[in-house]
């Protein structure tokens, strides 16, 4: 099913939404779209789900309780998905940091806000960019995964968004998560991104 859709929309359509009826009385509702090269701004689109995608999912769920997932087919042939796994957290985020506060200037500048700040005075953007640099400098993760990994960590650890990330690997969507390692005094000393093999 996805392969057929992919061949139709790749490179042409940015957002498409499908409603599938699995059996009478139940609707499965999700969104599927591509991230084309340069589709969001002149610097080029990320491969993985973007800040705007996360809010599209969260706000979509608030409007329709059956809306559960957002799939992304990227210009580098990678495939991603995000799903809400904690509705209360997602709704809370949407209330305390609404989309237009969290994202710079949707839909044309699809980055985390440089003006909305956490309680320590640091903007969402710089907090996220810090994770990007951490993954470059400390963890040396593959460059094509770093933007996605930073979003996994940022939406989980900083925003507590209740959203799960998945990347398609070897034909299956695998859950991406993060692990914070603490020292004996309770201070965070390391972060690792984990891939669920189940």
């Amino acid at each position: 099913m996805f392969k057929i859709i992919y061949s139709i929309i790749d490179g042409f359509v940015y957002y498409l939404e499908f409603i599938l009826t699995s059996y009478p009385g139940q609707n499965i509702r999700f969104c599927i779209h591509t991230h084309n090269k340069g589709s969001t701004d002149s610097t080029g689109a990320a491969n993985a789900p973007s800040p705007l995608d996360i809010y599209h999912l969260i706000d979509g769920l608030a409007a329709n309780p059956n809306f559960s997932a957002d799939y992304v087919f990227a210009h580098d042939s990678t495939e991603w998905a995000i799903m809400v796994d904690d509705t209360a957290k997602a709704n809370h985020l949407s209330t305390v940091i609404p989309r237009d506060s969290a994202v710079q200037a949707p839909p044309f500048n699809n980055n985390w806000s440089k003006t909305f700040k956490f309680s320590n005075g640091v903007s969402l953007y710089l907090t996220w960019l810090g994770w990007v640099k951490y993954f470059f400098e400390i963890k040396h993760y593959p460059r094509e995964d770093i933007e996605a990994f930073a979003n996994v960590l940022f939406t989980g650890a900083n925003l507590n968004a209740g959203v799960k990330y998945y990347k398609r690997m070897n034909g299956q969507f695998k859950e991406l998560n993060y692990k914070i390692i603490y020292d004996s005094s309770g201070t965070a000393i390391e972060i690792v991104i984990t891939i669920c093999e189940q």
Binding site: G130, I138, R143
Partner: protein
């Protein structure tokens, strides 16, 4: 001759004392000496700021050389930290303050992504160093502000 030696000694000692000025309160220093006087830096080179900073730059952020970015990045701004990127990011997670100077340039600095690759002269996977300071040193500051106070 004695007077000359005494004078040289005094100048040397004074310089030494100045160089050894230890900033014990980073927040207060950045607030009172940088943020409060930020207009003094507009139109000056980054070198001008770096030479006057009484704190060592340890970490920095700028547009990352991600695969979806063009081959030559247009670096419009840079963020300087006075802690390692590990301490900054993990500190953010725990709500700690790690103030940074955000510097916007008058003209974006063109940086070939190849410079930023592993082993490149500006390897993005390494900390701030003299090579990076020299490469960006002539960039003219449009404005700066201190974030995270």
């Amino acid at each position: 001759m004695k007077k000359i030696i005494i004078c040289i000694s005094i100048v040397f000692c004074a310089n030494n004392v100045f160089a050894q000025t230890v900033i014990t309160d980073t927040l207060a220093y950045l607030r009172d000496s940088i943020e409060a006087k930020k207009t003094e830096y507009a139109g000056k080179k980054l070198n001008f700021l770096l030479a006057r900073l009484k704190l060592s730059v340890k970490g920095y952020l700028m547009e990352p050389p991600l695969p979806n970015r063009p081959d030559t990045l247009k670096v419009k701004e840079i963020v300087l930290y006075f802690n390692t990127i590990t301490k900054v990011t993990l500190g953010n997670l725990q709500g700690k303050k790690n103030p940074a100077i955000i510097i916007k340039f008058v003209t974006p600095k063109l940086v070939p992504k190849a410079y930023l690759k592993k082993g490149g002269i500006l390897d993005f996977g390494t900390e701030w160093n003299n090579t990076k300071a020299i490469f960006l040193g002539n960039c003219i500051i449009q404005h700066l502000n201190v974030e995270g106070l």
